[in-house]
């Protein structure tokens, strides 16, 4: 038996300035809010830069805003901000804040580790962005700052790793008595699976970046110097790594759908399996280079043995994750069907987000068929952006859903629901035109000096409009959230009539979350408590 002190470190006294409280806090709810707040700032910054890039692409003959040197840097900044500055902190933040509440725990495991993870991640992100601003990102002209970019990437990865470790250990060790892993809420399960996937994949990225950093700083002999940076670590800013990072979002979908749909998931074990399948196959894909498929039209079956050898890994690594996502969608729809739920912002956001992720993952399959001829084209952005926007949309749904628990106040449902439709429009505008431009051979990584038959200005204008729409939706959402959380109506302890333990405590929860230890007997412990109370079986 351990006697390690697991009490949450006592927050500084009431006389301490608020800023010091936030800087030194190890309270998982505050750390989660720090992640979420920073992620929203990163999203706005990333979208503004994306608008600049896509605007520049509209006229491919000359530079309008950017310069030839700044283009690779801005492209790198967009991916860095949208991936490690937005998707990662939004989903990590929700996990850090909500998972201990769902488990009935007083705190997360290693709370100081999670808090340190936030600050280390933020430092790494700041260093990497500072390097990019000084022309030191991938293909950058300032070699010293390229070193800084690589060092910042390592620091950033360490921060993410530390927080993911805290989340995984929390789920494995801090569950309430009686809560076996199959009785844990689906978001808790997806957070565990997503964290473990990050714990297994992120060190490989850190190790590779360390090689590139040492080589770049001292030898420049093996990794291609400034121009080789993206070749070696660029995989962390594209599909399938983006799908791996989005895995916790799948659990949000299930939790929101089953609560707001007022229905129990019909097949919980299948839901667990679907999330697990997506995680395992996405992790397997990340560890491989992309498995492409030489189709060759009607000749495909001429040499069946060879073709099946090509087809099997392709199906396993690229098609199976999509089947898992279809399982998530199918189960969600099955859950919703009988009860005819009212339209609400969380539900709309998560379903639209799931469609975005599914669209991106399915498009990824087509892009890897060699005969489609889109490898190396802008089509790749049409895979990355819907997955990223999908994960962001689901995170927005999660913030609407768990906002009362994190801030004690609700986001206006009526005002937030139309923003989900804007997110859907943005996903459409930032996917379909990319696919068309990709099939027309518009190269990726360039904003100028390309030409192909067809209305290329139109496709690029539409993608620019997509980012503008997403920026509008984001700024409106942030404004709405700030207004609601500062002056909105106080939310009740259980505004959604939930069935899981986070709704069993006050909104916002007290420092140690729960007044006592809750013994769990099913996957819906709060529903059991409510049922027992209504029948007078519990004192």
């Amino acid at each position: 038996m351990t006697s390690i002190e697991t009490h949450l470190p006592t927050d500084v006294s009431a006389s301490t300035p608020a800023i010091a409280t936030w800087l030194t806090t190890a309270d998982h709810k505050k750390v989660g809010r720090l992640f979420i707040g920073t992620g929203l700032v990163g999203l706005v910054a990333g979208l503004v830069l994306a608008i600049l890039v896509t605007f520049e692409r509209i006229n491919a003959d000359s530079y309008q805003i950017l310069s030839v040197d700044s283009v690779p840097q801005v492209l790198a900044a967009v991916r860095l901000l949208l991936t490690f500055g937005t998707v990662v902190p939004l989903l990590l933040g929700l996990s850090v804040a909500v998972v201990p509440l769902q488990l009935g725990a007083r705190s997360n495991a290693f709370p100081r580790l999670a808090a340190a993870g936030f600050w280390i991640w933020l430092t790494g992100l700041g260093l990497a962005l500072a390097a990019i601003i000084g022309n030191g990102g991938p293909n950058g002209g300032n070699s010293n700052l390229v070193d800084l970019y690589l060092a910042g990437s390592i620091v950033l990865g360490l921060g993410v790793l530390m927080t993911a470790t805290s989340i995984a250990v929390t789920v494995l060790t801090n569950r309430a008595p009686g809560m076996g892993i199959l009785r844990a809420p689906l978001f808790t399960w997806s957070s565990l699976v997503g964290s473990l996937a990050v714990i297994l994949a992120m060190p490989v990225l850190i190790g590779t970046t360390l090689y590139v950093y040492i080589d770049h700083r001292y030898a420049r002999a093996g990794f291609g110097g400034n121009t080789g940076v993206n070749q070696w670590i660029g995989w962390a800013l594209s599909q399938p790594f983006s799908l791996l990072l989005a895995i916790p979002a799948l659990g949000i979908v299930f939790d929101v759908v089953s609560t707001i749909g007022r229905n129990r998931l019909p097949q919980r074990s299948v839901a667990f399996g679907a999330i697990g399948v997506v995680a395992v196959t996405a992790l397997a894909t990340v560890t491989q280079t992309n498995i492409t498929l030489p189709w060759e039209g009607a000749k495909f079956l001429d040499d069946a043995g060879t073709k099946i050898a090509d087809l099997l890994p392709f199906l396993l690594l690229n098609v199976v994750p999509v089947l898992g996502l279809l399982g998530v969608l199918g189960l969600s729809l099955l859950t919703l069907k009988p009860s005819k739920p009212v339209i609400s912002a969380p539900l709309t956001f998560v379903l639209i987000g799931l469609l975005g992720i599914l669209l991106g993952a399915a498009a990824h399959i087509v892009g890897l068929v060699e005969d489609a001829g889109v490898i190396g084209s802008i089509y790749e952005a049409g895979v990355y952006v819907p997955i990223t926007f999908g994960a962001i949309s689901i995170a927005f749904g999660g913030i609407c859903y768990w906002g009362p628990k994190l801030w004690g106040r609700s986001i206006s449902d009526k005002a937030a629901t139309p923003l989900a439709l804007l997110a859907l429009l943005a996903i459409g505008l930032d996917s379909i035109p990319y696919y068309i431009a990709g099939f027309a051979d518009q190269p990726t990584g360039l904003v100028n000096g390309f030409a192909y038959s067809g209305p290329q200005d139109l496709w690029n204008a539409l993608t620019c409009a997509g980012f503008v729409v997403m920026l509008l939706a984001t700024t409106a959402f942030v404004g709405l959230a700030i207004k609601s959380f500062t002056s909105g109506a106080a939310a009740g302890n259980d505004p959604w009539d939930g069935t899981t333990l986070e709704w069993a405590t006050s909104s916002p929860p007290p420092a140690e979350n729960f007044a006592g230890v809750i013994v769990v007997n099913s996957a819906t412990p709060l529903a059991d408590i409510k049922s027992a109370s209504s029948t007078g079986k519990v004192a």
Partner: protein
């Protein structure tokens, strides 16, 4: 608002042990990924004719001599560390402070010796990280391994101070500490085979 009174202590579920296992898995992926990249570079290297060994991969420059004795001693030292760390667990479970302290002390000493051996290898090789791809990768891989060994040494120090400071019920921490050294030994086995044997 007023906080509710704290919840009573939930049943412990070996948090430190599980956390150590997760950290070990991450560390193993770090070393595994680095060894995979090393092997890729080695496999992709062009073939050249060596005066001593015929046609070989043009990967490690011929003038470099890797001090294998020190590397082998590191490996043996890590195996002994595992035994010492397990001895600490055995003693701690029996509430034997003297032997637990002794075992943790020997573990720390051998960890220091292993780090010293790594520094000796760098000094004896006498090459710089800026001399070529092999050199920079050698320093990156062995440097990462040394950083992990340093973290193991810190873990030993923390376990020793906490246990000898009076928290003799913290057997789990001593067990988790032993697990971490098992992981470090496994990771170094990979480094030893790929970098010091296969080169």
């Amino acid at each position: 608002m007023l906080a509710l009174p704290p919840a009573s202590q939930p049943a412990p579920r070996r948090q430190v042990f599980v956390g150590t296992a997760v950290a070990g898995a991450a560390g193993f992926m770090l070393i595994g990924g680095m060894m995979a990249t090393w092997l890729k570079f080695r496999a992709d290297a062009p073939v050249r004719e060596s005066l001593k060994r015929g046609f070989i991969k043009d990967w490690m420059p011929e003038k470099i001599v890797v001090p294998e004795v020190a590397a082998n001693m590191m490996l043996l030292g890590l195996f002994v560390i595992c035994i010492m760390a397990q001895w600490a667990v055995y003693s701690a479970k029996r509430n034997d402070r003297t032997h637990t302290g002794l075992a943790l002390g020997v573990t720390a000493l051998l960890a220091l010796a292993s780090i010293n051996a790594q520094i000796a290898i760098w000094a004896q090789m006498g090459v710089g990280a800026n001399d070529g791809a092999f050199h920079s990768m050698f320093y990156a891989a062995t440097g990462a391994m040394t950083a992990l060994l340093l973290s193991g040494l810190v873990y030993t120090a923390v376990a020793a101070f906490r246990y000898l400071g009076g928290r003799t019920k913290e057997v789990e921490l001593v067990s988790a500490h032993a697990l971490y050294w098992y992981f470090l030994t496994a990771a170094f086995c990979a480094v030893w085979f790929v970098i010091y044997v296969q080169k």
